[in-house]
């Protein structure tokens, strides 16, 4: 039968000429975190973090090198490493603040061009230098897992809006939206999220403080979990845990200068109330106080964003989907002076297992 000769021939061809360079799991250095810092106009410093797996724990090994471009840094790092460095399992990329202010796209370009790098990759801006942050030692499972879990759990359950490489690039390439990234800082043997870095294009221009992150998240994202404490009066606090938040945009007026209304809906449960008595009246009171608080804080935040000419919330995109023949240019010329109104509606659906 000819068919068998075909099979034989096929295997022969593969064996004879089909060898591909392997990257056997234990013979490579798997890069998990890489940090970039600005040195001067022509060079950046790259710090790579490679976990060393021991039977009981994971140790951190860092390599530092300076080079002109990001891809070069991978190459330069190879000079220091005993095993080839593989960037396919990269989980996080950090940018020093100074670099972020100069623009990150030249570096991010490698990440989006390289097919081996995933798009669930987390990006973050470091207050200080990435090098310094990566030299520390956090947690028992290695810095890589610590850092990526830190961001992940804060996205899933706290107040960082959903962010990763894909989200960043989506916003960067979108005409009607500006990117943002988590802003972190080293604190002794921990890393803390201190805010959200805001970008104009690929340049960091400003950041949102920790206390405003909640309001920022309800504006850009669907907030699912997290507790927020409001002050009702002196010594009167109520902690509300959010279940669902949602926001809707309404546009009216001309497409160059629309009037924008944002409806924020918040549903949550009462988590803690400092006073002894809790009843329907107090429930309403908490709700209205919280509503006012949301309107006040988010309006302030939006004003702030408008004054910096940045749009991480994506008003431009929302406007585009509502008007025909929309022009981003005209919209953003008027953006700083646009009238943006916030309506908030807070519903407390229950108060735990006691009244």
């Amino acid at each position: 039968m000819k068919k068998w000769r075909v099979l034989l021939l096929a295997s022969f061809i593969i064996i004879a000429g089909g060898c591909i360079r392997k990257s056997i799991l234990d013979d490579i250095n798997i890069l998990t975190v890489i940090g970039y810092d600005y040195i001067d106009k022509n060079s950046i410093k790259g710090t790579a973090l490679i976990p060393v797996y021991e039977t009981e724990k994971i140790l951190n090994e860092t390599f530092t090198t300076t080079s002109i471009a990001s891809q070069d840094i991978f190459e330069e790092l190879q000079h220091e490493s005993s095993d080839p460095i593989a960037q396919g399992s990269l989980e996080m990329v950090l940018y020093g603040e100074e670099l972020a202010k100069k623009g990150v796209i030249p570096i991010i370009d490698t990440l989006q061009r390289d097919s081996r790098i995933g798009t669930r990759l987390y990006l973050a801006v470091v207050n200080g230098t990435a090098n310094e942050l990566l030299k520390g030692k956090y947690g028992t499972r290695g810095n890589g897992i610590y850092l990526s879990n830190l961001i992940r759990q804060n996205i899933e359950q706290r107040d960082i809006p959903k962010t990763n490489l894909h989200k960043f690039l989506y916003a960067y390439y979108s005409d009607g939206r500006d990117p943002f990234l988590p802003y972190i800082q080293k604190e002794k043997d921990k890393v803390k999220i201190v805010g959200i870095a805001l970008f104009d294009g690929d340049r960091m221009v400003h950041y949102i403080k920790e206390s405003d992150m909640f309001y920022f998240k309800i504006l850009v994202d669907r907030y699912t979990e997290g507790t927020y404490t409001i002050q009702m009066a002196d010594n009167q606090y109520a902690a509300v845990k959010s279940i669902v938040t949602d926001r809707n945009f309404f546009f009216s007026g001309s497409k160059e200068r629309p009037n924008i209304t944002v409806d924020i809906e918040f549903r949550g449960i009462l988590h803690e109330y400092s006073q002894r008595k809790y009843n329907k009246k107090i429930k309403q009171k908490i709700e209205t106080t919280f509503e006012k608080e949301i309107v006040k804080e988010t309006s302030k935040l939006i004003k702030h964003l408008q004054s910096h000419q940045i749009d991480p919330i994506g008003f431009g995109e929302e406007a585009k989907s509502r008007y025909r023949n929309f022009s981003y240019k005209a919209f953003y010329e008027n953006y700083p002076t646009l009238d943006i109104k916030i309506n908030a509606k807070v519903t407390i659906i229950d108060s735990g297992i006691v009244d």
Partner: protein, 502 residues
Amino acid sequence: MFNWFSKKQNKQKQTSSFNTTSELLHVLAQSMDFEKQTFTNSHSQQRFWVSYIVPLVDFEIVQKNILPYLLHSPIETLDDIKQMIPVEDIIITSDVTTAEEKMHEGYLIVQFHEFASEGALIKAQRNVIRNVSIPEVEFSVVGPKETFLESLEINLHLLRKRIPCNKLTVKILKIGKLSKTKIAIIYLKGIADEENVNTVTQRISEIDFDQITDSSYIVQLISDNQKSPFPQLLDTERPDRVAAILAEGKVAIIVDGSPHALIGPTTLVEFFSSFEDYFLNWYIASFFRLIRLFSVAFSVLITPIYVATLNYHYELIPKDLLGTLITSRREIPFPPILEALFLELTIELLREAGARLPTKVGQTIGIVGGIVIGTASVEAGLTSNVLLILVALAALASFTTPVYKMGNTIRLMRFPFLLFAEFWGLLGVVFCFCFLMGHLLQLTSLGRPFLEPIYPLRVTDLKDALIRLPFSQQSKRPQHLRPEQPIRFSKKKAKQKKDIDE
């Protein structure tokens, strides 16, 4: 497959190389287990010569039913023998071919002259058979516990007992220049497709082979694609299974001297259905069938995927697993392919050693091999413990295949997959799968597609393929057999629905 029809008609008529009976007896006498005795009839004083091959003859029959009558009844001619001796099969012939054939089956030849060409052949066959025993290869917890034996008559008896119906038709052919093995083709007339029966009959009668020892010879000789590693006829040792498939409209082949019957035409999915599936509730049976299907896929693919991933696709590994894999691999000096081949071959060794040794020793070997070699090789740093678990699981999974021959094929299939995985990673695994798919698509069993009912898709036949639907749904015989009588029972009655409290 159609080279069957182009094959030369090389069936020559079986003729003896001897010219006369005495010449035949002379040649037979060269063997020392041949006996030739002279007696004299007490009535007619007629002398006669009785010759036979000693090991083939049952002396009890000779002493009780033959000799007394030969000696003391009035016998003058050979025709008298036929009337006097109470044995059911007596042939009077001068044909050397018949004489030769019958003597080898345990007949005596009685001649009135030492060199006469004519003689009476009297049946005195000795049958040595064991008792009907419990199925060992296709064991089932519930259900009948009898197996076929090495005797065609008994096997047919077991079948006839289960199908007391005059539709059951048996065709017997004799194949093998030396062994002259009796081969029975069994089917239900009016239910089985005549075309299938004809294909089987034709292929078997075209066999040109000297010795047929077992039914597995027949499988290899009449398969559509003899170069395929896949068995294309199902073999079974269970009379109940054969009875069931005959009722479906298939054809069974039983070979004298073999305790395994063959079933055809068969399909790939049939190899993964155990007959016990029909004894269990259909939910449970379907669940087990899916488990088996999954275990086959697992068994074939898991080591190749391990090799592919570790060689090329470290990106795929979840980061929580990365640490486990790296630490277990760190000490190993070999690349993943050698590690995998080493372990796979160890398992094959254990299996082969266990199969060749007596049952009790075999079990010990299994335990010693499994535990000692496994643990030791991990501790010595020859293999990683993750792979050890995977290979052991894969071996276990391959044993869930109910048909032994298919289990072997599955274990063999792993090696090309491993090779492709080593060279092209996941792409190689899929590529190899494409070859397998192409091969299975071209395979036929007795001219019927092997992948049926999946391809060509026959939705009605899916009722008893990957899952087994309840008997009330099985009112029709499988379409791919083209049965002459497709309806098994009235579907209406089975599907009658009653209202509440009726």
